[in-house]
Symmetry: C2
Subunit: 453 residues, 2 copies
């Protein structure tokens, strides 16, 4: 029996192994020319890690006005770079190409749009693939655990350096939709408006489960080598598998029903265990395209940071105490990878301590009459005076529409009288979570009118 799908990945492993002997190691991850800001001041992270210094890659479009009051900060999804839009230095199309420009959703004839690569990413910002200044070696999995708030703090260091006091708006989708809310909670006085598209106020177990599956698949690739693969063959098989799982969560069933149905790639051939139905070849291609385009360790850290996202007051309080306890690390000269200064992980596996009687939840899934959680109301209350647009898509399975409704109900209960909620029904958008990348008319249109009203 032949397995062309396995032949293909095995061939790549061989090619990469021999290439690394002649042309040097792993692929370099880049989407092209960008600006870089390096902060020489150390950054204390929520869970106690410390970066002695860090770099944030960014790009910008449109002219900043004299009083720097027209700046829009655009937050990315998990795997995106700062390259949201083509420009003279880098003509390659950006991930929000059709949403940024004169007269477009983020109108560059009015706004100065800044987009950064997140802290922990691999497109120019400091992340696991970066060199640890403490020892001149790559961080790999010595890199400290990150949170959404850590990423936002790093962004605001950049804004400080640019002299931008208050943003005209904070805008983001998917993970960027989380960050947009996190920014509103951390820096309410520095943000004029908030747009959060297909995001949430905290990660829910179903989304954690789907990201968990991706991480486990990636970490099971022996080439991942517990994170230390940088001078060897990278875990391209694990990355390909992880991306295929992710792709299932990014699109929706109804779209696939229309596009792929039960069509086979080649009906004249007998069925096979390798990709066979058209939907399978689509997923295979999605994995192929991605597997060498993004750093595996960045995927793990950024994905984990999404799981840890929770703007509820209980989590915020516990992080606040942790930061207080670790504050001294900013003053000390310890290296970021020493036991005292970075994360130590448990030596024994976690054990399940399950209790069916414990029902500490305060909001319920799809229930339209869900009780709004006091924990979240208190957590989001710093944003109560910031006009907000919250956008959701009915066909999204990764960040289901009830999670954006949760944000809306919470903000309103926190006293925010200026919350606009848009939910795209299945008639309008079949594209699930990926709608924010595709639906220029409805997503772009809503963003534009909210920012310009």
């Amino acid at each position: 029996m032949s397995f062309p799908c396995l032949d293909a990945v095995e061939l790549r492993t061989q090619e990469m192994a021999s290439r690394s002997l002649t042309n040097g190691p792993e692929p370099s991850y880049t989407t092209g020319v960008h600006k870089e800001f390096t902060s020489k001041d150390p950054l204390l992270l929520d869970y106690g890690g410390r970066l002695k210094e860090f770099t944030i890659a960014y790009e910008a479009w449109g002219k900043m006005n004299a009083d720097k009051s027209n700046v829009v900060l655009l937050h990315t999804g998990l795997s995106a770079s700062s390259h949201a839009k083509s420009n003279e230095d880098n003509p390659r199309l950006g991930w929000w190409e059709k949403f940024i420009g004169p007269g477009l959703a983020l109108d560059t004839s009015r706004f100065h749009v800044i987009c950064t690569n997140v802290l922990g990413g691999c497109y120019g910002s400091t992340g696991p693939a970066s060199i640890d200044p403490a020892d001149g070696k790559r961080y790999a999995t010595r890199f400290p655990i990150l949170t959404m708030s850590d990423m936002v703090r790093a962004q605001f260091r950049l804004l400080d350096a640019l002299g931008v006091g208050k943003l005209m708006a904070s805008v983001g989708a998917s993970m960027g939709g989380m960050q947009s809310l996190a920014a509103g909670v951390l820096y309410p006085d520095r943000i004029g408006r908030i747009v959060s598209i297909s995001g949430c106020a905290r990660s829910h177990p179903y989304s954690i489960a789907l990201r968990h599956a991706q991480r486990q698949v990636l970490m099971a690739d022996t080439n991942w080598n517990r994170g230390f693969y940088y001078d060897k063959v990278p875990p391209h098989v694990g990355m390909k598998l992880a991306r295929q799982i992710a792709t299932v969560t990014y699109r929706s069933g109804p779209e696939w029903e229309q596009r792929f149905g039960r069509k086979r790639a080649d009906p004249s051939r007998p069925p096979a265990l390798c990709p066979d139905f058209l939907i399978e070849t689509y997923l295979d291609h999605a994995g192929e395209k991605f597997c060498l385009e993004y750093d595996a360790n960045s995927l793990l850290y950024v994905s984990k940071a999404m799981d840890l996202f929770d703007l509820g007051i209980a989590n915020r309080d516990s992080i606040r105490k942790l930061r207080q306890k670790n504050k001294h690390k900013l003053l000390e000269g310890c290296s970021s990878d020493s036991e005292a200064c970075s994360l130590s992980l448990p030596k024994v596996p976690y054990t399940e301590r399950q209790s069916n009687k414990d029902s500490s939840r305060t909001t319920s899934g799809d229930d339209d009459d869900a009780v709004v959680s006091d924990d979240l109301v208190l957590g989001l209350s710093p944003m109560r005076n910031i006009p907000a647009l919250v956008l959701g898509v009915e066909s999204d399975i990764l960040f289901p529409a009830w999670q954006q409704r949760e944000v809306v109900d919470t903000l309103r209960k926190a006293g925010n009288t200026n919350v606009k909620h848009v939910e795209l029904s299945q008639d309008v958008s079949l594209f699930g979570h990926d709608s924010f990348l595709l639906d220029v008319r409805n997503i772009g249109g809503s963003v534009k009118s909210f920012l310009e009203e």
Copy 2:
């Protein structure tokens, strides 16, 4: 950084490698004592494979009456054995323990209930782990591609041997729900009633995508060794990963919201890349429990057979022609693994031939006013005189409720005036696809009253 989750699987690999040197090879897959029926007549499979002989493992409960008119055939889900219910020979609890027995959903004081392990499975029926009589070696991936209809044909060979002409009812859930319908189409004159729970009339791309991800993850485990692992360490890591993905599809978000929420396994510990949130430890345990309990090749073949399931007339016609073409194989003495008699797979990878303009679908996802597909109406028309109960669960994401509605609408349009449709709303069952294993009151109750009306 420590990775207890990787330590655990690596330790198991080592243990299994050393154990296989002393105590012999791989685990044997069994759920205990069962009956076996062996057919010495060859079986021609839909895609041209041929089994020279085959065995079907089965168990039975309740007394068969004199005219053999009280037999209920119970079809299993993907990974279940014939052990649906404990008995004297095997007191271990069965997978439908609370649904079978005197006065229960399948009332053994009235009915003789037979449950088989599917052809292709690993719990006593002939499958990839079985010995190929042609050469005395295990089939492994030389085993031919199977379909749901092939499995049903094998079951009816058993019924023939038992002298059962007509079933009182054909009952099944999940994959068994597919088989229950397939039986109705193949043998309409031999079935009194049909119960199809959380099944469908054909597999849809979203479900194919989720099974594809599981197969790819499993096949990427180097211990899978293209199917030839039987005297070595089995691909327990790939099996564990595949089961974790499957588990995500078996349960529903709302249930997890209640049960796990954002609880961490041990909040006093810092976050980790290994399982950390309670939902992650739950998935990890589900994978651990399963990874040595089921044969990897069986998972691949049976999962693929589910993808290939399509009761539409176009597919049925094409299979009919294929069977006609391959009929001679039943007469010839060729071995089941020769090129001429089994499946040959493409030498080059499939290429995507995508066209956005092609919209050949006739039914649409969640659209309540979906046009019923003529292809399906013609395909299911043999069942038009068989009373049928079709049961769906709103919170099911693997076989969404619209797919059971599709079955119901199709059967009614085919002229079946005796179709009962039950859909459990989210208020009633939060358990998603797994409801059929858990909800004795609503699922069991509906089945019981339908069978006894």
